[in-house]
Each structure stands twice: as C-alpha cells, then as structure tokens.
Point group: C2
Chain length 363, copies 2
C-alpha cells in the first residue's frame, strides 16, 4: 500500500507555473494529476478533488465513504471529508471564497460546472489549463521511471506468454485473457488499456480490440498490450505471422521494422514531434506505403496511456530529456492485414533507450 504523501517537489513545480500565470489557486479534478501530486499514491482511485493554494497548505477533499482509507494512507496532506450528501462544488466554492482567491485555475472543468462557478464567484477569474500539469508530467523523475520500467517488464513478459499461447484455432479474446492474467499475476494493478489481439483482416484496424474470431493459418496477428504499475502505464505491440508468411507480409513487416529502427536510432533531445515522426514516415513513404501509415509515430506515456509529447506529422511538441513515449510505426492494408511494431522508450542525452525489450521477429 502506498501512503498519500504530498510530493513537495512536484507541488513546488506547479506553484512556480501558477505564480508565472498569476493563479492564486489551482484545482485538480483529474485522478492522474492528484496521483502525480501525491507521489503515486492510490488515493486517486475515487472521487477526490485537490486544491492547491499558492501560499498555503494543499487540501484533499474526500468523499465520506473514502474517509478511513484516506486517513490510513494520508501522511502529510490536509484531508477534508465531505458529509453524506454534501456537494464537492460547494466545498470548492467556499474554500475559494475563504482564500480570497482572485484567479483560479482548474485542470479540468465542464461547461455546466463552469456556469455554477461563474455565477457564484462573479469576482473571481476562472480558467482551465490542463496543459500546466501535463507539461510538468512530460519530464519523468527517477521514481516515475522505476514504476514505468516495472510496467514495461511486466508487458514484455506478458507478450512472450501471449505469443507462446498463440496457435491456429485459438480465439483472439483467449490470447488477450492469457496476457492479462499474466500481467495481473506479476503485480500489474490493472491493464493499461483494452488489449488488442487482431488476426487476419482485423490487423488492418489500428484499434481492433479483441473478438471471438479464431486465428487461422497464414494470418497476421497483431498484439498490443500494456500494464499499469503504481499508476504508470506501458505500451507494447508485436506483429507475427502464423505459419509461413507470404512475400507481401514479409515485405510490409520489414518496412515497418526498418521505420521503427530508423526512429529508435535517430530521435534526439531537442527534436520536435513532427521531426521524430518524419524519420519513420519517410522510410515508409519511400517504400510506397505512406498512405497506409494512418496515425502518428507515438505518444507520451505515464500516468495516462496517451499524454504529451505527441509524435505526429504536425506536432510541435519539443522532445526533452526524461520524456517517455512510444515509437510505433504501422502499415495497414485495408481488407488484407496490418503490421505495427511498438516500444515504450526513454529519451536521454544519448538518444533513445527502449524500456520494452521483448524480442522482435526478423522475417
């Protein structure tokens, strides 16, 4: 079990941004952000709200039914428990008034909630800037990296198990079940996302999910899976051919592998997202498959499976040291098959360091 221990370093980083933007109060409603600021605690699995004033003690608002759990786990954070049917919005309103805050920022705010706040806080300027914490979260620290590495090790092992289990006649969801079971037994708190096991023509759908379709001889099978460990996610894809692959299958596979290799070897600190993307995209275009690479090269990963930086054709996101993201080129031939090869990687001064290291077939 983790304790709900405020990360002083991360709160300081947030306050620096608040100060720059002249916010005197920041309100976190997203579980991922609360988890980030409470140093990877599990407290965020519930309907919590965290309020961070610029100059005073952060407060965690907690529903009544979470009171005992949070008290058990809370170490250095002020907890305020909501009464039975008390509304969290009212608690926030009162606290903002009490703090005499003038400019308040949310990490997430709905249109309907904003109407309530605007009405009752007519003198307070209200803004919503999810990017503030997302930008901080782009740069992982060593503690985060440890959790990410463990999540990656779990997914590596699960992929091996899935590939061992794969054979003609087995159903896609059965392969997914084996991989997910393995991840849970290894201590993953849950799967990072719905496992993809896509066989045959279904491998041409980038987000295929898994169905009761049986795997047949000669088919392409694309497996995309991830584990969540202490809140941090991994993301890993391998594509294999059942039985003897055709010349086209081999050709497409080699192009994707070469594109990934090109990106893995050449992405560097200081590049922007589109430059990284173009390394793989050019390779695929040169081989004539450009129009079948229908998504970006990758995405940042951490407390959420998809977070900044984006590696896509138009992304201007700067790639920095200690970013963790995926590198996942793919070619999808409609009604035929698709190939994607994906690893989760860490960006260092010396270039990319793969965190998932599961074997890739070399057809």
């Amino acid at each position: 079990m983790c304790s709900v221990s405020l990360s002083k370093k991360r709160v300081t980083l947030l306050r620096r941004e608040m100060s720059n933007l002249q916010f005197d109060c920041f309100i976190c409603r997203l579980n991922s952000n609360i988890q980030y600021l409470t140093a990877n605690s599990k407290v965020s699995n519930g309907e919590f709200v965290m309020l961070i004033p610029l100059d005073s003690q952060p407060i965690l608002f907690t529903p009544k039914l979470e009171e005992e759990r949070v008290k058990e786990e809370a170490k250095n954070i002020w907890v305020e428990v909501l009464g039975g049917e008390e509304k969290i919005e009212d608690k926030i309103l009162l606290k903002i008034l009490e703090l005499k805050a003038k400019k308040v920022c949310f990490d997430s705010l709905s249109f309907n909630q904003s109407k309530i706040f605007h009405k009752k806080l007519s003198k307070v300027k209200i803004d919503c800037k999810p990017e503030i914490l997302l930008n901080l979260r782009k740069i992982k620290d060593w503690e985060e990296l440890k959790a990410l590495k463990k999540a990656c090790r779990i997914s590596d092992k699960a992929m091996e198990i899935a590939l061992e289990f794969l054979r003609v006649g087995v159903r896609e969801f059965e392969i997914a079940a084996e991989a997910e079971y393995a991840m849970r037994k290894m201590g993953a708190e849950e799967v990072a996302f719905k496992t993809i096991v896509a066989s045959g023509f279904r491998s041409s759908f980038p987000h295929a999910g898994n169905t009761d379709k049986k795997v047949r001889d000669g088919e392409t099978v694309l497996i995309d899976l991830g584990a969540k460990f202490l809140g941090y996610n991994s993301d890993l894809t391998r594509t294999v051919f059942v039985g003897k692959p055709t010349q086209t299958q081999i050709k497409v596979y080699r192009v994707v592998l070469e594109a990934q290799d090109k990106a893995l070897k050449n992405i560097n600190v200081g590049m922007v997202g589109w430059e990284a993307d173009s390394l793989a995209r050019k390779t695929i275009e040169e081989k004539g498959y450009g129009k079948y690479f229908i998504h970006g090269l990758g995405h940042g990963i951490g407390l959420e499976v998809h977070e900044p930086p984006r590696l896509s054709a138009k992304s201007m996101d700067k790639l920095e040291k200690m970013n963790v993201f995926t590198v996942e080129p793919g070619i999808y031939l409609p009604k035929k098959f698709g190939v994607r090869i994906e690893d989760t990687v860490l960006l260092t001064e010396e270039g990319l360091k793969p965190l998932t290291v599961c074997k890739k077939e070399s057809y």
Copy 2:
C-alpha cells in the same frame, strides 16, 4: 463482432426529447451514449462523435485510423471520416452551420470547448444536458436486459471461482486475478471496474481495491467484482469470513443480510430513491449501526457502472419498471472490518428480480 447499426427506436426517443426541449441538433461525445444509439456496437471504443439532427440523417464522425473498422461494421449510419490532423471541433462547427441549427445540445461539453463553440457560433444557443440520454437509458429494453443478464451470469461464476480460490496466505491481488481471468475466459470484454478484494481491516474501506496483502485466518474478506458484456456491466459483492467468525462478525453480517433482504423484498415500482434506501437504512439503524452505513443503497447500472437512478438517502429519482440497479447495504467498522452484500437487480411490476444469484453465506 457487432455491426454499427443505428437503433431507430432509441434515436426516435431521443428526438422526442429534443423536440420537447426545442433542440434541433444533439451531439454525443460519450462512448456510452454512442453505443446506446448504435445498438450496442463496439464502434464507441474510440474517439467518435455522433451528431443527431432533429430532421435529418445522424452522422458518425470517425478518426482516420478507425475508418476501415467502422466501415466494416457500419450498416445504416452515415460515417464521415476526419482527415489526418483535422479537428473534430471544426467538423462539428461546420455541420452545425450547414444544418442552420439554432439550439444545439451536447451530452458532454468541457468549459474550453464551450468557449470555442460560443465564439464561432455566436448565434446558436448551446446547452449541455447529460440527463436526456441518461434518463432514456434508465429504462432497459429486452436487448439490453439480455446483455445485462449475461454480464451477471459471468460475475456469478467468477465470484464462485474467487471464493474457491480464497484461502489463508493468498494475496488479495491473486484472488482478483483469478476472478478477472475467469470473466475474460467466459467472454467478458473487460472487467466492469477494478476488482475489490479487501481483507481484514481493509474490508472497512468501501473502495479498497486490491493489494499484495495476504489473507489471514479469522479475517473478513469482501469481494466486489463485475463483468462487461456487449457494453453492459454487472456488479456483485459477497463478504465471507476465513475460518471461524467471531460473534461481532456474525452479528454485523446478519444485519447487512437482513437489510438487503428487506430492500429486495419491498422495493417497488413508483418508489423514489430515498424510500428504497430507507428500507435498508432503517434496518441497519435499528440495530445501532446506522452511522457505519456510509454510502447509498445502490445505483443504476447499464452501459456505465454508475448511472441513474440513484438509491440514496436524499435521492428523488423515481424507480420504474425495467430499471436495473444494485442493492448493496454495508456496515464499515473503522480499523476493524466491513461487510457489504450486493446484487444487481431488475425492477418489474412484481417487484425486484435479482440478476446476480450467486450464493450468500448464512452465518
């Protein structure tokens, strides 16, 4: 695999509400609502937006990378594919202008998105009413009931497997892993929520999750699990004692069981949420445990695990025929143990019909 087939009946129900409230265009951004309107398709697992004009053909906006999957699955719905880096907001804006809509309603809208829409659609009235579709979704039809029943059967069986696996020395997450594996092998597309396996003092946390804590002799173990089948969720809790229970454990268990029984036998069509809640609450209060029943009696369940109607101390939600909800009284003694017994039930003219039927211990 399901086809993306528009549910004409459900769209008609939505349009009736739109007409009553004078909306000429409704925009669905929530996966659960898109799934509802497309008759339980799986198309909603992605970043889709559905636009339902009052008088013309509904449109499903689809990201480029989902194009082939949606085309494969789509039967009677108009699909518009977004180009590579096209923004969905721009597509919606253009369509609203093209339709000459005057009053547009969203099922979900963020503050930041609302600013964009208000700026660019200065003459259009914009509203967000999640309750419109949630209210329609409260009354299940036979097709939905079939999926719910299957989800319930899967969770019944998974609970049996978890309880068989439970023994001294086993870790909470290992029990959860067995239950989840069983659900997936039985065809659940995923778990409905993070499985709770809470042993000893941790059973006093209603939302305990599962940890690497080992189960010890004499402990209370609370298991709360659910399966998702064709999009529909089940929710089931059983509490057991490992070894010989104490008099207090038996006493608390019997109070919770009696409270649940009282509710199961007496909840009727036409009651409101608080009346249903009070059936169980009074029983628990009479035995002196009132202040330890720290949540509502239950919640509607369907495409989401928590949806209307609410059964809680102040809920005015009307209970109607073909509602499906949980009945789950609990007593949580801080630092000691907790007991919750929960079933997913269907409300009929003849009263409640349990959809989960897994055995309850009678200590």
